[in-house]
Symmetry: C4
Subunit: 236 residues, 4 copies
């Protein structure tokens, strides 16, 4: 396929993944955005800013270069674009980023806590706790808020020596979740999982205030059942 | 458009906004009402009292003057009309008022607490905490309950020096939420946001009993990303 | 109408009210039943026992006399029939009884607590707290469980000097809610309200552990806005 | 019917029961599986591993012998097959096993607690608390994880002297629920009940931290209303 065809396919995938967000209950009103990158052709496709999902069309998807400068489309891109761009630069193996204000993940982000790996539902997707960034400083917020949001995520992964493929999501303190994946569909699925395990984790603590994270050997077992060379879940 | 056409348009908007309430899950049975005002033609349009949503027709919408006296329609207006009238008198820049018993907002109203601004989902719509009124006195309830409900909201905004455009909603102690906006659609959306952030806030406190409101600079950033001359969210 | 026609109308109303239960989310599987009484013709119509809602037909409704003896129909009546019969005998002004295992009401029944009147949503339907019965004794359970369930409800109302019209529902300790009303539709609506206020009340206590019931004058105001000679809510 | 016809019927029932899981809200994405056994013809039918529910066809169901070796079908069976096989070997009277990650049951599994019998909704299906297994050891997880998951369930039932027909489900510590029954439909229904009573139980404890299990005589009454020779619920 030529560049135009590839971008056309990206637009379709990004459009459909955006529509999936309200359908699966991760997004109310216009609170969410999905993007996809193709590094070889130098293109990012992202949802336009603040357009109601019911009115959005596939041709409204905005195309930018790898720096986030709009190169195609008449609409403004999602205001969170700069965060996506930073993540694509730092995490070279991810092809799609999703941001939502999904309720349960936001609760943990507002609480400023990483989500412990309390069970195998968590371990099937996230290899260890889902981290929460530090609060952004006044200077960071005023200078370049969305870009700095990306940077604090990257800082969190660097400091905790996390692999973004093994931990495909994060909580931004006081804000909400970002997830990512190899495709828009997969990045949305990781957002579904993140919200579900956030919900499970908060009530787990209510049911047993002394609850413990699962042991490392069970975390390993479940994560590697589904990921990597030794995976045996699914049809591949 | 002449007065009759303008009122006809108002009726349609108010009718559709009322139907939106049960559809988005803010209202069960007949627990909610939406109104719209046009100060220039001296008209308020509001839902009739206690009519099931499934049976309600656009022509059932009741038209009153700016004092709340019915001038058109055979049905009784919502019993909360007097509250709407007070809010329209005091808050001259709002064009629509919505009242519901949406679950999560009611929980905070019953708890008698303002909702702290724990995150950006809150700050995107409410510039600071969502206030909760004091309890009405016996005299106020017996004298003119619905009118006094409006007055205690106005008192709460005056005492806390709040701008009703920057804080488009309130909790009435022991009762429930009122929200408002420039259009019925927008006032309902503010009701959706209020219920969602109420839900998020209560579990935020369960997850971290020492959780903190977001810093003012982040509140400013998110609120002014979407509102005022420096807004850059959306397509305008 | 003759007796046959009246019973036919009762069957339709009872059938439709039973179908409403899963539709509004009060019932899973076969956990619920609705009945209606016509004391003049000496007939009670009730749902058959354990029939899946999807397969149930209007002609499956069971007709009994005022003692609960089946007089028409080939199916067994709901196993809770004896509870309904006791309530109809003691509460002479109610025409329909509904029993469900609706989640939030059951939580309070299992906790063994009456639901305090924390707000106007509660006061619009229940004039004061929703009572919870004592635990049944071993003897009562073994002797005539369903009949004794009715008796302990009646005992609870007598001891607390409650009017079943002003308190159209109850929690049976360790079991779940019964509600009633003038029609099957109204009894189901009271079940909807009871479950909703149960949900609101539990989180109200989580949000503010020192929350208070609303003052009597507000309880009076809201209850009598909707009920009795001075009611002004609705179109009558 | 001959073997081929019997297996064909099993495939249909297993397929339909699997589709029921997301429909009733017990399963997100591909997190669940249902199987059925016919010991006489030596066949187990189970869902294929990791296939999206929307794409799954009845002919994708995998057939194995009683040891779990695939004998028919081109797809890999659910990775949890070995757990099902162990349960079928030890619990000779069950014909179907269901595994999900339903939210409320998982919360208790993650909390590592058995669910107390707080009410009759629980007692109608589970004759006593729903047990939770111990944590699997490192050796067990590494040796034969899914088989050992079955074994720890069996160990839990043996140690607590539980009858799998009277306690048709279990929580695996840090993982989630397994339920079973005489048919796939019944095993799914037991999964619905388990998730519902898990939800009820956690909030029961929030509403009353000193809540008590129902007395044995009430547990007996409700369980034997629906089960065994003295049952009188339903139409049989």
């Amino acid at each position: 396929m030529n560049r135009s065809q590839l971008v056309g396919e990206m637009k379709k995938r990004v459009f459909e993944a955006n529509l999936l967000l309200p359908k699966v209950g991760l997004v109310k009103l216009t609170w969410g955005n999905v993007s996809e990158i193709n590094r070889e052709i130098g293109a990012i496709v992202i949802k336009p800013s603040g357009v109601p999902y019911a009115e959005m069309k596939v041709e409204d998807m905005v195309v930018t270069n790898l720096e986030g400068d709009v190169v195609e489309g008449t609409m403004k891109p999602s205001s969170d674009l700069a965060t996506h761009v930073e993540l694509y630069k730092a995490f070279s193996k991810i092809q799609s980023v999703v941001h939502t204000h999904s309720k349960n993940a936001v609760m943990w982000a507002q609480a400023g806590r990483a989500i412990p790996a309390y069970g195998t539902t968590h371990a099937d997707t996230f290899y260890g706790e889902v981290p929460c960034t530090r609060q952004l400083t006044n200077e960071e917020v005023e200078k370049a808020y969305e870009k700095e949001t990306g940077k604090v995520i990257i800082e969190t992964f660097a400091e905790n020596k996390l692999d973004p493929l093994a931990t495909p999501g994060v909580l931004v303190y006081g804000h909400g979740p970002f997830t990512w994946g190899e495709t828009p569909q997969k990045a949305v699925e990781n957002g579904i999982v993140l919200d579900e395990i956030a919900d499970m984790a908060s009530m787990t603590e209510v049911i047993n205030e002394n609850c413990q994270s699962i042991p490392d050997y069970l975390l390993d077992k479940h994560y590697f059942r589904k990921h990597g060379a030794t995976a045996y879940y699914g049809q591949k």
